[in-house]
Amino acid sequence: MSSRTETMPVFPDLSRVSRVDEVGVEERVARFQKRSIKKESKVHALRLALSMMDLTTLEGQDTAGKVRQLCYKGRHLHDAYPDLPHVAAICVYPSLVRVAKQALAGSGINVASVATAFPSGQSSRKVKLADTTFAVSEGADEIDMVISRGEFLQGEYAYVFDEIAAVKEACNEAHLKVILETGELSTLDNIRRASVLAMHAGADFIKTSTGKVQPAATMQVTLVMLQAIRDYYMETGRVVGMKPAGGIATAKLAIQYLVMLRETLGKTWLTPTWFRFGASRLANDVLMQLVKERSGAYQSLDYFSKD
């Protein structure tokens, strides 16, 4: 798993980051949405989407009970349908990592925790690092950090870079996902630049959004980030993962993301190791589609567990 390099991360030459052709991105995305997916491939894609899911609950009202229930859902997505994969990870706040870790023992499902003053990231470096260390010490396998969008937007790229590198170090063996919060970065050029910055600073994954800001993940934004991952891979040979999060609520949309992933980065990334969906509502829609493919009848949420 660990792709950590022993060498110090090196600040990238941002002037070399190519500009994003917005019209081209729109056209490319429109094409991904028109692919015709036949039934067999669809079922395969839906199962893959389930296995790539980071089942998420990030609410102020979360309790240990709620998290345990979500963990149960992650392990038993829909017992009426045998042989379903389990989800990739359960994503919670640091204070609930221990609960999730216990509930998931022996299941092969990772515990992901948001950290670094999620969702705004407006705190001191010291607090953010302590937040990360706490989540890791509680047993988190993956850390989802947010970047300081304020610093990024006023051009303090070195600050953001150092921060990511420092959090990466605090993560130890835990995987680091860097949330760019694309809804606040305003342009595709900024998103591309932030992606490059995060990858050079040591991110194992780059992630679109916290889910707390609109717009969250869109296909346009995800495409730009996937292209950044591809170019980074060409340049350095290191594979970086991608996690669109927020707003992906339907099975149809999830399949379109998978098509985009396959056609932009190729088969290597078509695994939960390198691609994740951050979602709270998506799982049930995917399950409803899978059951529909088998029974022939469209399904109702009444017959699927809420979390």
Partner: protein, 305 residues
């Protein structure tokens, strides 16, 4: 939709000299889903014909995916519509009647084009308007009649009240394109349900025009969804969709009724079969038709000791 032969086109008026004859604008009949007027996702159309075979218009031949979209819209609308005050629902139903009254001529001409006589068509439109007003009046009264306080031997205050069933699928009757539809639609929405209606396949024009009336009458998007297409393709979907809570099937075909009942059993859908040769008959206007798509909830409330 291309050029369609069109009966009963308005007489083209002469435009200014030298400009030639005015080309009449043909209406495109679309679906009504979630408060919007989309075309069918399948891209298929069928031609509605007058009894003598003249083409009247092209309409969307809905697919099961259109139906699925309609159910999603109807489900999303349930919470708000069922929680709206009875008073508001009554106002909106009355508003539909008002808007329908304002477009009487159009409905009459559509019915005539589809084979009714002028007298019958006028009577059908009038009866439809009156029926809407009738159910508008019932929205805040049927609960009092159908709810009750039950005597029990324990120290409980025990009462039963009506709650809407939820999403109701309506396969509208083939005859009486307007009145048949309104007679089944009005009691369902008066009771707080949301609907997906499959319009008459042979007399579909009024259904789509009614959608425009509903839209203009402040009926919230998704409360009524109207599809045009064939029963052969869609009635099985109405019966089998797990997120539909009740289906009203207007049919006298024993095989169709049986097939619907069997499929509906999967999620214990309430199946209501209605048949009639005359939808203007008094039995098609009754608070008991509201009760058809209501569930009775009984509450045991502890009191004293």
């Amino acid at each position: 939709m291309g050029t369609t032969e069109h009966a009963k086109q308005p007489v083209p008026a002469e435009a200014g000299s030298g400009a030639g004859k005015r080309l009449p604008i043909l209406k495109t009949y679309k679906l009504y889903i979630g408060g919007k007027f989309p075309r069918t996702e399948s891209g298929r159309y069928f031609t509605a014909r007058a009894p003598n075979g003249t083409a009247l218009a092209n309409l969307c031949l809905s697919s099961r995916k259109d139906f699925r979209e309609a159910v999603v819209a109807a489900r999303a609308a349930v919470e708000k519509w069922s929680n709206a005050t009875a008073y508001l629902r009554g106002q909106i139903l009355y508003r539909i009647a008002e808007m329908l009254e304002g477009r009487r001529a159009q409905f009459v001409s559509e019915l005539v084009a589809q084979g009714s006589t002028e007298t019958d068509a006028t009577a059908e439109v009038d009866a439809s308007i009156d029926r809407l007003v009738y159910y508008a009046g019932w929205t805040d009264k049927f609960q009092q009649i159908f709810s009750c306080v039950n005597p029990v031997s324990t120290s409980h205050f025990n009462f039963s009240v009506c709650e809407p069933t939820g999403v109701v699928g309506i396969v509208a009757p083939e005859a009486d394109g307007l009145l048949g539809l309104v007679s089944n639609l009005a009691p369902a929405i008066a009771g707080g349900n949301t609907c997906i209606v499959l319009a008459s396949n042979t007399r579909p024009l009024c259904a789509v025009t009614l959608a425009e009336v509903l839209h203009a009458a402040d009926v919230p998007g998704g409360v009524v969804n109207i599809l045009t297409g064939t029963r052969d393709e869609l009635s099985a979907q109405f019966a089998s969709h797990m997120d539909v809570n009740a289906v009203i099937l207007c049919s006298s075909d024993a095989a169709e009724i049986q097939a619907t009942q069997i499929k509906a059993a999967d999620n214990l859908k309430r199946t209501i079969v209605r048949q009639s040769s005359d939808w203007s008959a008094p039995e098609h206007q009754s608070p008991y038709l509201i009760l058809d798509t209501q569930e009775i909830k009984t509450t045991w409330h502890p009191i004293g000791s």
